[in-house]
């Protein structure tokens, strides 16, 4: 009975650029942990939580992770920025910790920077892109424009969309790249309007995306040309853009209306507590935490290396179905979604239109050597 408690370090952005998402991730994680504790813990152990702030900054993130890990809270979870996650995984061996990436999508976490002690539970960029390859050719229209944030992710999104579209004989006639942190999108919007395309592929994340959508609405672009959003349908974006996004189609990492018993139970419990459905970010936090706790359950241990080892190659039952933690790269192979923003009960939110099952995911990266 005197088993060691599970000591979790919830490290996410409490301040900094991702503070808003950080709040949601933490809420999802805590929901999972509180539920587990209420049900008597996992593997007969209580779960103790310590929190940290990564400030959205790799250095602060690494510092926070080290502090949590060295104080015994060495099951780390929750950081948002890819750079923060990459910085954290460098130190896992030194601090004897494990890390669960719930939001960071960069391929490097399951590629050249993959670690035996790190498991990712969210779609990697590669999984997203595989889905785009499948989905893009089906999008209506012949002539497209692309607008994406000017960094690796945006370029990847743009080029894979372009490739997918061109492979089906259609074309992309305009590609724009917008600096991160841009405030005024009018120069881009006027170019998009002038291009007179059938649809626009937009890959501008988070805060920048909000600004883009608002201004595109203001200039009447959204009314004339459909905009398809890559990672732009998250609830916190939809909330901030008023009614601008109504009818917008795009990719989504989780949908509350996903038909799966565990998910329906989760959504129901969430509704009881918060009186609304969980958001994408909240659910992804929850999912990550559930996988982590499942690891403890299977390992019958709280030693980080054993927890992750127990998960490696395992099949776990989650809110997104029975999924495998791929042994080659510790990536949870998750499904992917296409959704449309709709007015549900007087509130805008993304509603799932199409599910891309895990078998769409590409194979593990050869760069990963654990």
């Amino acid at each position: 009975q005197n088993k060691d408690p599970v000591k979790v370090g919830v490290l996410t952005s409490r301040t900094g650029v991702w503070a808003e998402m950080g709040e949601e991730v933490a809420r999802g994680i805590m929901f999972s942990i509180d539920n587990a504790n209420a049900a008597g813990g996992v593997d007969g152990r209580k779960i103790l939580v310590a929190e940290g702030d990564d400030e959205g900054n790799p250095d602060a993130g690494r510092r926070g992770a080290e502090k949590l890990a060295r104080s015994g809270h060495n099951l780390l979870i929750g950081s948002i920025g890819s750079a923060v996650s990459l910085a954290i995984v460098q130190g896992l061996d030194r601090w004897d910790a494990a890390y669960f990436a719930t939001i960071s999508k960069t391929d490097r976490l399951s590629g050249d920077s993959c670690k035996a002690r790190s498991i990712r539970t969210v779609q990697s960029d590669a999984i997203d892109i595989a889905m785009i390859n499948k989905w893009a050719p089906k999008i209506k229209g012949e002539n497209f424009a692309v607008i994406a944030s000017d960094y690796a992710w945006g370029h990847d999104s743009s080029s894979s969309f372009k490739k997918a579209v061109e492979s089906s004989g259609k074309k992309v006639s305009l590609s724009l790249f917008v600096p991160l942190g841009a405030k005024d999108y009018s120069p881009y919007i006027s170019q998009l309007k002038a291009a007179k395309v059938d649809a626009i592929w937009a890959a501008i994340p988070a805060r920048d995306g909000i600004a883009f959508i608002k201004q595109a609405g203001e200039f009447g672009l959204l009314a004339t040309t459909p905009v398809i959003g890559h990672a732009m349908l998250s609830e916190f974006i939809v909330r901030a853009t008023g009614n601008n996004q109504e009818g917008m189609v795009g990719t989504l990492g989780y949908g509350a209306d996903f038909q799966y018993p565990l998910n329906q139970a989760f959504v129901k419990a969430w509704k009881e507590k918060f009186n609304r459905v969980p958001t994408e970010t909240e659910a992804l936090g929850y999912l990550g935490s559930e996988v982590m706790l499942e690891g403890v359950r299977r390992a019958k241990s709280v030693k980080p290396a054993e927890v992750t080892a127990a998960l490696r190659g395992a099949e776990v039952d989650t809110i997104l179905g029975k999924l495998t933690v791929r042994a080659a790269d510790n990536q949870l192979v998750v499904p992917n979604f296409v959704a449309r923003v709709k007015n549900v009960d007087g509130e805008m939110r993304p509603v799932i239109e199409e599910v891309f099952t895990p078998d769409n995911a590409p194979p593990a990266s050869p760069l990963c050597k654990m």
Binding site: G181, K183, S186, P187, A211, K214, F219, G220, A240
Partner: protein, 283 residues
């Protein structure tokens, strides 16, 4: 296409004018490079947001800057005045501290999410310009920017207080010796500068989104403007603001690869050519 780009540049330039005239005024009189100016802009925007929610945009346009003016007066009275004998760097860092406090305050009061304030009904339509539809609100922004620039120039050039402000900006001790109540003058100027930051915030709210990060975004641009224009020089700031607005909108279209770097390249080039900026007479 070029026409609409120039228009877009003008809009952002106008916003920068409102923002930077406050920064330049405060620097001029207090020799303080106000790192909190971006935070004040943000505070103005959020205040405007709340006021507009309860009343309407036009009330917010007046009330938020008024509240900010009061804040500025207090800042001068209980901040800058007490620190006026300190070396400039200390005061700069005090404003840096203030920035941290204001950002935290805004996050605590209004939350960390992005908020959005719709354009006022009166301006919620589009007009046809250079063959494209542009939101009328943006034309309004240009009008406000022009009004601020013109009003400030006339005020400084022709009014008695304007003369005192110019004098005190160069040599506060001598100006005081002539019987100008420099304490009150500073309070007025810092109040005005802060109000202008607030005004910029309210003006920006409907077309740039409200977020706790909006402060840092605009701060660097503002620094580029006031430094390129010549620290403390209003005329210089006006020119530099328009230039930066244009450079950004034209650059985004014609030089997309280096567009982000353009403001900085502009600053480096101009400072190397004229170390004290456009209007700088200081050597």
């Amino acid at each position: 296409m070029l026409g609409i780009n120039l228009f877009n540049g003008l809009v952002y330039g106008a916003l920068l004018i409102i923002m930077c005239s406050g920064l330049a005024l405060i620097y001029g009189l207090r020799r303080v490079v106000n790192f909190a100016h971006g935070a004040l802009y943000m505070l103005g925007a959020y205040l405007g947001y709340s006021i507009a929610l309860h009343t309407n945009f036009w009330v917010a346009l007046v009330a938020a800057p008024a509240v900010m003016a009061l804040f500025g007066v207090l800042l001068d009275r209980y901040g800058f005045r007490l620190l006026q004998d300190r070396e400039p760097l200390s005061v700069v860092l005090v404003t840096f501290g203030l920035l941290l406090v204001i950002e935290d305050f805004v996050q605590t009061v209004w939350g960390k999410s992005n908020l959005s304030l719709p354009a006022p009904e009166l301006l919620a339509f589009s007009i046809d310009l250079f063959g494209t539809q542009v939101p009328a609100y943006r034309v309004g922004v240009i009008v406000v920017g022009a009004a601020v620039a013109l009003g400030l120039s006339l005020w400084l050039r022709f009014s008695r207080i304007g003369l005192f402000v110019r004098a005190a900006s160069t040599d506060p001790a001598t100006t005081a010796m002539q019987g100008v109540n420099t304490d009150n003058l500073s309070a007025v100027v810092v109040g005005l500068g802060t109000a202008l930051a607030g005004l910029a915030g309210v003006v920006a709210a409907p077309f740039l989104s409200l977020s706790p990060a909006m402060s840092a975004d605009v701060l660097i641009d503002s620094f580029v403007v006031v430094v390129v224009g010549g620290l403390g020089s209003l005329a210089g700031a006006f020119v530099a603001a328009l230039l930066l607005g244009m450079v950004q909108s034209i650059g985004a279209v014609y030089l997309p690869n280096v567009a982000v770097l353009l403001p900085f390249l502009l600053m480096v080039a101009i400072l190397i050519w004229k170390p004290a900026g456009f209007a700088g007479s200081r050597t």
